[in-house]
């Protein structure tokens, strides 16, 4: 029931008791404010690290070969293992392997266009690499299946190479010489989360043909379909076994076959973050409890202080329920408004921090691109904001706690005989 007279009575009481109102409100606002900052920082940290992982597909796996370190089936250690195209077909057949791209490493490659030239890294690949490494395409297209089949002489340039060779003119459709062989530029790419884009992508079949690779491969980049650490380990194990059987080396030989499983690292890091999140929640709940205790304390004092007033009100005809209602509504009103203020200040501060971080990150990226090519844009803190439902539930919790803490003594005060309340000095 909305009774405007009742609210006027409450507003008048609040206006005349500013200190009491402030103290009640402050403990609630502070609790919510601290909670917002804690949870926001935790989220920021976890978002930041998660975004670093997103530079490549989280389920990416890289496989490369080396020399055997364990003697196997009568063969000595120190034998070098070499991938060929058929190895990719083998790996592709392993259950749980998603897309894959074989890569053939080329030595130094010199790019030239007109009078401009420079040495850059050439990554030979298949179309699937774009999915494994989350490559961003700025213009044109990436390597496609027809390029592979027809062994076309096409190239996708990183933005830095494009800028160095072509300046502001259009690069797509032009021919660059790579080790004196002309290649047609079909796309411009960028790498996620990096300030250097000095890689060029070439069809692996073309590279094998022109630069003497035959059917050799150095490296396989694949994605795996796994959600747990166990699944991902199982896939790893199978890949090892299949390739070990083919190339006759011990499946446990880490030297013969190198393997980096991004998902494994991702899952492990996320486990750490789970722990950090739990830790932050424990502190957050502690903060909330401190807030609840604060509100409860103040409500107890408020009711004690108002015992005589309750007696007076009852003597002149107030029913117990109207007295309790008055105290409770006042408490709920103060805690709601204070909670909201804490919420706005807390989220506001986190948004402000976020804003400045985005600004400084952008500035650092610009400076990094202009001055040096060292290092990526590895932020550890990103989007430090809090889920609004959590914020609202915490505020509601404090409001309810304040109401309960006020209700118990208010009920007692309202049920004692007015004469006893009046004697209370």
């Amino acid at each position: 029931m909305f009774d405007i007279d009742k609210w006027q009575e409450i507003l008048a009481t609040i206006k005349k008791n500013k200190m009491r109102t402030f103290l009640t409100g402050f403990s609630v606002a502070w609790g919510i404010f601290m909670l917002m900052i804690l949870l926001g920082s935790g989220n920021g940290l976890s978002n930041g690290v998660a975004s670093n992982f997103m530079n490549d597909a989280v389920n990416a796996m890289w496989i490369w070969t080396g020399e055997t370190t364990i003697p196997y089936q009568g063969m000595k250690a120190g034998r070098s293992i070499q991938f060929h195209n058929e190895d990719q077909d083998l790996v592709r057949k392993v259950a749980g392997i998603g897309v894959s791209s074989g890569r053939y490493f080329m030595g130094n490659t010199r790019y030239s266009y007109g009078k401009e030239s420079g040495e850059y890294t050439t990554i030979t690949c298949q179309p699937e690499l774009i999915q494994v490494e989350n490559i961003i395409l700025k213009e044109g297209r990436f390597i496609n299946e027809i390029d592979i089949v027809e062994k076309r002489k096409v190239i996708v340039l990183g933005t830095d190479i494009k800028t160095a060779l072509f300046k502001d003119t259009t690069a797509i459709g032009e021919y660059v010489n790579i080790n004196k062989v002309p290649f047609k530029v079909v796309g411009i790419s960028a790498e996620p989360g990096s300030t250097r884009n000095r890689n060029a992508y070439m069809p692996v079949s073309t590279a094998q043909m022109i630069f003497g690779g035959n059917n050799r491969l150095h490296n396989l980049a694949v994605t795996i379909n796994a959600t747990t650490l166990e699944e991902s380990k199982a896939i790893e194990e199978q890949v090892r076994n299949v390739l070990a059987r083919k190339h006759k080396f011990d499946p446990k030989d880490e030297g013969a076959l190198g393997l980096f499983n991004k998902l494994e690292a991702y899952i492990q890091t996320m486990k750490i973050f789970q722990a950090i999140k739990i830790f932050i929640w424990i502190i957050g709940i502690g903060t909330l409890i401190a807030g609840i205790v604060g509100v409860s304390n103040i409500m107890l004092i408020v009711v004690k202080e108002r015992t005589k007033e309750i007696g007076i009100r009852k003597a002149i005809g107030a029913s117990p329920s109207s007295v309790i209602g008055l105290i409770l509504l006042e408490s709920i009103m103060i805690t709601t408004i204070a909670g909201y203020i804490g919420l706005v200040l807390g989220t506001g501060l986190m948004e402000l921090i976020n804003y400045f971080m985005v600004q400084s990150a952008a500035a650092a990226a610009a400076a990094g691109a202009a001055v040096s090519d060292q290092g990526g844009n590895n932020t550890m803190f990103l989007n430090p904001t809090v889920d609004i439902t959590i914020a609202i539930y915490s505020t509601l919790l404090l409001i309810v706690a304040g109401a309960i803490a006020g209700y118990i003594p208010a009920k007692r005060a309202a049920s004692i005989r007015p004469i006893a309340a009046l004697r209370d000095e």
Binding site: D5, Q8, E9, A12, T13, K16, N17, K308, E309, G311, I312, R313, K314, A315, I316, G317, A318, S319, P320, S321, S322, A414, S415, R417, P418, I419, L422
Partner: protein
């Protein structure tokens, strides 16, 4: 109007119980102006609290305007207090964060009278008691006599049948005391029953009936001829009430 029959009341004080009222039989008519006297601990304040439904009694019967007052719910007794009784206390018991007008208007809030209306009525009562200029003052800005007049206005605003005053002059000097007593007398002349508790003989002498309590029992009731003698004895050079 008020009919008490063999009222007993005791208080639990830790392990031992204190028997305060030991069988009070009392009859007060509509329009009476009664004072209750007695030494400390004779039970006079307890009696007044029972009359005002601020406290309950152990045994006996209490009829107020024909209604038996016993084991009523808090809500019902609050409602009855609001309709029937106005209280005046020794320590005024004004709400400290409300100004004079708001204090006077408060009983009407619990009667559901709209704010504007009740403030207007409160102003009328303040004017009647000569406090119109003090309407917006807080209790701590007023003298004891003014505070007691505000309290009387608050007691009157709900148009009660009975005014119960517990040592209404206890915190006031004698000039202000007589002022307050004159106001109560005027109220009584309008037909409202006024019952005051006092230990001052001159104050009691201004009423039309004196009930002396002694050790939880009614010792004597002084009225008519005896009252004249009592008044002559205690009102020195003042106009008899």
């Amino acid at each position: 109007m008020i009919r008490l029959n063999n009222i007993h009341k005791s208080y639990e004080m830790g392990n031992n119980s204190l028997h305060v009222l030991k069988g009070i039989d009392l009859h007060i008519e509509q329009g009476d102006f009664v004072s209750i006297m007695g030494s400390s601990g004779s039970g006079k304040s307890t009696l007044l609290n029972i009359l005002g439904m601020l406290d309950n009694y152990d045994t006996g019967t209490y009829h107020l305007a024909g209604n038996l007052i016993a084991n009523m719910s808090e809500k019902k007794s609050a409602q009855l207090r609001n309709e029937m009784v106005g209280f005046v206390f020794q320590s005024f018991n004004l709400i400290s964060f409300k100004n004079a007008m708001e204090n006077v208007a408060l009983p009407l809030y619990y009667k559901g009278v709209p704010r504007k209306k009740r403030n207007q009525i409160a102003m009328e009562y303040l004017e009647k008691l000569g406090l119109k200029e003090w309407a917006s003052h807080m209790p701590n800005e007023m003298s004891g006599g003014q505070k007691q007049r505000v309290a009387i206005a608050r007691a009157l605003i709900s148009k009660p049948k009975i005014i119960l005053a517990d040592e209404p002059t206890g915190a006031l000097d004698s000039a202000t005391s007589y002022e307050v007593m004159n106001i109560l007398k005027e109220i009584n002349q309008e037909g409202i029953t006024v019952i005051i508790v006092t230990h001052e003989h001159d104050i009691a002498a201004m009423t039309s009936q004196i009930i002396r309590l002694n050790d939880g029992l009614i010792h004597e009731i002084i009225r008519n001829g005896e009252l004249k003698k009592f008044q002559k004895e205690y009102i020195h050079g003042l106009e008899p009430a």
